[in-house]
Point group: C3
Chain length 143, copies 3
């Protein structure tokens, strides 16, 4: 990581972890709170969605899957952030390894990465843009 205070650098790390964990636990409100009101998400599975309403629907599909017995586990490594000189904008990246457990079996999605733009407002860092790419194509039902 580069630039910014140590507190900011740890806060960005924590935001990634909070987002991934909330998504996996079906905690919809926390997922939504990880994003600015105008935030955009982009992935090969969901295309591009934007705004809290669409993000809530996205998180609710994970929550419904979990309630139906499908456990996602978004494992994050190699988190790196560049905080801009003003201290309230950042770009951050992380490697992503997702496991899906269903009917007593676990399988990994292809490895991938997040590329994110972040904004600090009211003392809290949030994602304004979160793009995920995977190292090869795949399909995913229900998300």
């Amino acid at each position: 990581m580069a630039g910014g205070s140590i507190e900011d650098r740890l806060a960005i790390n924590d935001l990634f972890v909070r987002y991934a964990t909330a998504l996996d636990e079906g905690d919809v409100a926390t997922v939504v709170d990880c994003f600015t009101a105008d935030a955009a998400l982009e992935s090969p599975v969901i295309g591009v969605i934007a705004g809290h309403e669409a993000i809530r629907a996205f998180a609710e599909r994970f929550a419904a899957g979990r309630a139906g017995g499908t456990q996602f586990r978004h494992m994050l490594t190699n988190i790196a952030a560049e905080i801009e000189p003003g201290g309230d904008r950042a770009r951050a990246r992380a490697y992503l390894l997702v496991f899906i457990t269903q009917d007593g079996k676990s399988r990994p999605l292809p490895p991938g990465r997040y590329e994110c733009d972040l904004v600090k407002s009211g003392g809290e860092w949030r994602f304004r843009r979160r793009v995920v790419t995977h190292d090869h194509d795949y399909t995913l039902d229900g998300i």
Copy 2:
């Protein structure tokens, strides 16, 4: 992570890494020192065990397995901690991905997570309770 000093937050991260690495390396004394004297461990494989003597026996089974050619690798991601206002109690969680290598082949255990209670005493953080859950059932010989 939330609450507590930056030093405390890094120390809790380091405790997780020290524990996992010591277990994988067969370093029994370090594993035991990661826990308070009254600590309890809980997992689907070992059930519930408590106290340094039981934890030492647990770590010795990993060390014996390693001496016999079985290498465990406990990979930790998504570490998060909540330090209580007093500064000497915390709850922490981490994602866990374990690989077992034996006879020239590696296999993963089902992904899972740690849920832990921690205590700071004499300047050192230790686990007082460490619960591991995996995303589906499995069996494990020798542990």
Copy 3:
């Protein structure tokens, strides 16, 4: 991690991430800049190589593989560092899980670990020695 300032501890974490990410992205200059001029790398695949010229050639093989459609992903967990009292020498370790994606399929290399010696010079930490071990033998074409 132990010893050293918080800044140094985070900088060593960032060095690992910068190295792995640059290697995976084919960013040869950044890979080379992660090492001292006299640095040695050791692995079961490459044997022992030393110096910037050999390290550049090593990174160029990854870059060429990537240009040819092979995506490596070096995922790092369990990073730990011991900074020596003087503050400009350290030993650090990390767990390593590498995925290789080719022709629409991903496969993991056997899990492993890095053992590294580091030096701080001109305010920057760099690897002086980086040894990688994997938990069982494997072969790798083109690297």
